[in-house]
Symmetry: C2
Subunit: 601 residues, 2 copies
Amino acid sequence: MAERFVSRRNLEFLLYEVHRVERLSAQPYFSDHSRETYDLVLDTAMKIARDLMYPHLQEMDQKAPVLENGQVKVHPAIKGIMKEWGEGGWIAASMPYEVGGQQLPTAVATACNYVFAAANFSSTGFPLLTAGAAHLILSYGSDDLKETYAPRMLAGEWQGTMALTEPQAGSSLSDIVTRAEPTDGGYYRIRGQKIFISAGDHDAAGNIVHMMLAKIKGGPPGAKGISLFLVPKNRIKSDGMLEPNDVTVATVYHKLGYRGCPITQLSMGENDDCRGYLVGEPHKGLSYMFQMMNEARLAVGMQAASIASAAYYAALEYAKERPQGRKISSKDPLQPQIPIIEHADVRRMLLFQRGVVEGSLSLILQCCTYSDLSRTEDVEQSQRYALLLDLLTPVAKSYPSESGILAVSQGLQILGGYGYCQEFPLEQYYRDIRIHAIHEGTTGIQALDLLGRKVVMKNGQAMRLFLEEVGAVVQEAAQDSELSPYAERLKGALDTLGQVTMRQVQFALQGDVETFLADATLYLELFSIVTIAWQWLAQGIVARKALDAGCSPLDAQFYQGKIHAMRYFFHYEGPKTAGLAARLMEADGLTVNMTAAAFDD
Amino acid sequence: MAERFVSRRNLEFLLYEVHRVERLSAQPYFSDHSRETYDLVLDTAMKIARDLMYPHLQEMDQKAPVLENGQVKVHPAIKGIMKEWGEGGWIAASMPYEVGGQQLPTAVATACNYVFAAANFSSTGFPLLTAGAAHLILSYGSDDLKETYAPRMLAGEWQGTMALTEPQAGSSLSDIVTRAEPTDGGYYRIRGQKIFISAGDHDAAGNIVHMMLAKIKGGPPGAKGISLFLVPKNRIKSDGMLEPNDVTVATVYHKLGYRGCPITQLSMGENDDCRGYLVGEPHKGLSYMFQMMNEARLAVGMQAASIASAAYYAALEYAKERPQGRKISSKDPLQPQIPIIEHADVRRMLLFQRGVVEGSLSLILQCCTYSDLSRTEDVEQSQRYALLLDLLTPVAKSYPSESGILAVSQGLQILGGYGYCQEFPLEQYYRDIRIHAIHEGTTGIQALDLLGRKVVMKNGQAMRLFLEEVGAVVQEAAQDSELSPYAERLKGALDTLGQVTMRQVQFALQGDVETFLADATLYLELFSIVTIAWQWLAQGIVARKALDAGCSPLDAQFYQGKIHAMRYFFHYEGPKTAGLAARLMEADGLTVNMTAAAFDD
């Protein structure tokens, strides 16, 4: 196994130097905290990750969950991990003191989750879903639901889930058919099927609390008739004891990766005895659920980046240690072989991994910082940050997921035949990371969200704010002679993005929404490269300043490395915008103006 | 399981209409054959693939080979498959009559192998390696070796392998240390280790015949001291019986995919009793082995394309049947959902798969046709085709492998969560295809071969011939009003490729070989897109002519589909050349002028 899965130095660089989380302490919510707290929290996270989570990485993959007598059995380590996350306050880390939270900035909590996920991604599904579900209850649930469910979930005793998808309605939530029938007993009678429910059942939790979308009889059709229910696996009797709530596990899926966490198919109300408790008002469920979905989307991006991080360090370690071949300029077979990190092509692959990993993490922490900044009492500022977060969520979900697949694949490639074998962790990372472009909204769905909703919302206000944010970094970088060529490149890419956006939006204004969104996935890719280039330039600025100000030789090496990685991103990833923009400017409806028969023969 | 894994119609289109294999009958070697033979052969291949190979696809993946008491046990179906390939004449398909071959064009034999590999890739490793090994013996072995080994290999009774890689020498063959010590007994004593030997041992063959590289004591260092040996698992006693030859299986690797075929680590001479028989002259082994390596490289490209084909048809079937969502322009939830093939983004993903699959297959058949044409007695023509084949082999190996990974991934994506689960074959294809960018020379090695060797060989003669070949298609397409814009695009890309090539070669001429080859992998990618665009334009020409000449409605639909897929390739894949060329023209040595310390922190 590899020695490392994250860089502590890089986490500190991004948190303190690039995104300056210490400034958050100016806000009342975070005022108790300082870098001292954050360092301590990171220390503890690193220790838990290394001692409690990483050792089970491979075994949890090899011993996947099984369904036995209607109960899903998971790896025994999960119980201890959930307990630690609960008792250590990790599940409630960014929640308010009054519910037992720590009021940590999301940025810091997410950095810790990143460390955990890099050590053992599958195991983080359990507590992260629980955190999201508890937060949803605390935001919209009745006092009774809050008091009954949230504490046990935040303590890591009960599992929370997100129960949206149905067999006939995958990405199309408006087509769900799970029914909720009102009763006189203060609950609804639930009947339906849910598929692909992560951590939907397992024996490491005393109860499973499903946050479930369903339709109340007689409500409006489509998305407007969706309500949110809390549906427990075991409901609570008047004496406080649990009894089964007619939720059955139909299947535990056998999957490519993510094998430590069970994904289940659930059946509710087979005996007409499944009770659901309405959360919030009827028919408003989807808008509530978006809170959990958006949190989950950021979490997915974070998890994808974390797997790519583990793969990067595993490949880096191998590349430093593996002797193979010689410099092209000195092929004398009598000379010893050199470590493969000396080959330009291997460096290119490592730099690609690094570009993706550190660019993604920076973007995720940027989003978290926006989220934290939006807690300000200045309404205008708060809206500004909320809009930026909204706009960038599909990017922060999909770029790490899509590019992470490629980055892990390059890591595997560096190991050659060994990368394909189970004695190294790369093949597992390759399987694990593939889920992220699918769950919590596929990349295609994220693309529609970005271009079809976020870019155009409020007459493009979020987009304008984004251009401002990137523009500020461009301007700052332009002052530095070493960075100014990159500032120019980013400015060029930003202009291109602006033109491409106008071109697409034109179709929307003309009412041709099919052409408008036909290449939304390419638009997302273009948008993402610009976004990550922005994050790299921001890192470059900090590194240049630190070098100018003078620092230790070790730090100087780190900052030089950062600048080199930034240069890689601009020279190798940046040029990809040209092809994407060229295609997007064509906007000829090639995939719209055709029939499915073109695929027949 | 999916209904189809290849398109028979497309195979016929490429063989007869695009690459016109019937013209080969003008050559004495192929003069017995006609379309009638080829159709019959294809019929039989389709039947064997469907009845004998496809049914075991999943089980061979799930029940991977195991090492028991020093013997690798494979799925029992392998024995029947090897028998059928032997008795049916598939192993010797393109070999001369005098060794029991069928003298089929390589193009036709490869089309059949493609059908087999699309049905069950892992199972084709066994006979294809056997064919390559037997061909090597027949080309360079003594009469005794030929008579003793080749017939039983071509009959599918004995397995052939390719034993090159060693623990300390993966891609660096000059560093192999397996020793061959001459004896008086007409054999060499072999001692050493070989890793990653496909089909290196198994119980479905009566013997294993390793074509092994080793160094004879006292020979020159490096690649110039490599000799080729035939090292059987069991050697033949004077009475004709077999006895163990001191070849031990140290490991059978547990791998991501390709699980039907064992990859083994072998140890020779642990008891100082391993006999190897020299093939050809001492120290010339590497040049002999290149015959098998080049055949294997084309086979790898073919196998990658075949897996991508199976994934494409599985995704296509799903996309036609799966209802989900509605047109963006008509979101009424009361209307029924539409099959996902109606969504532009899904069509884009299908067209990408098709672009890769049919573009790759066309290139592979192009290479095979060059190989077949090089059998002509016209020396100049023969050299021309041999050079073209040489130049394009790294492209035909790596484009299907690299783009195939992406194509299968898009297929998996089309199935969403189901793509990630074992009940559909996509996740297996995703694992299986990942080997191809690694074995038989990684993509990085292919790139060095293309730019560092093939492009510059004979003062660029092969490259000039390639430009001629592509230029001829451009010229023909320019005559057709519908194709002329694409002819122009290809011409532009070809010019760009020429400029980029000049720019890289300049460094070689200046003696800076490190910078010359630093971005060879990107050069390979650029070269590949141009090459596949050429193959698509050639297909477009045929389709346009057929439509002009008039054809049945069913054929018209097929040809229209071809033209649409061609347009996809030009509009979506073609533009990627812009970014690649921009980067390659920079040639700033970013990965050369750095130290490994830049990765430290």
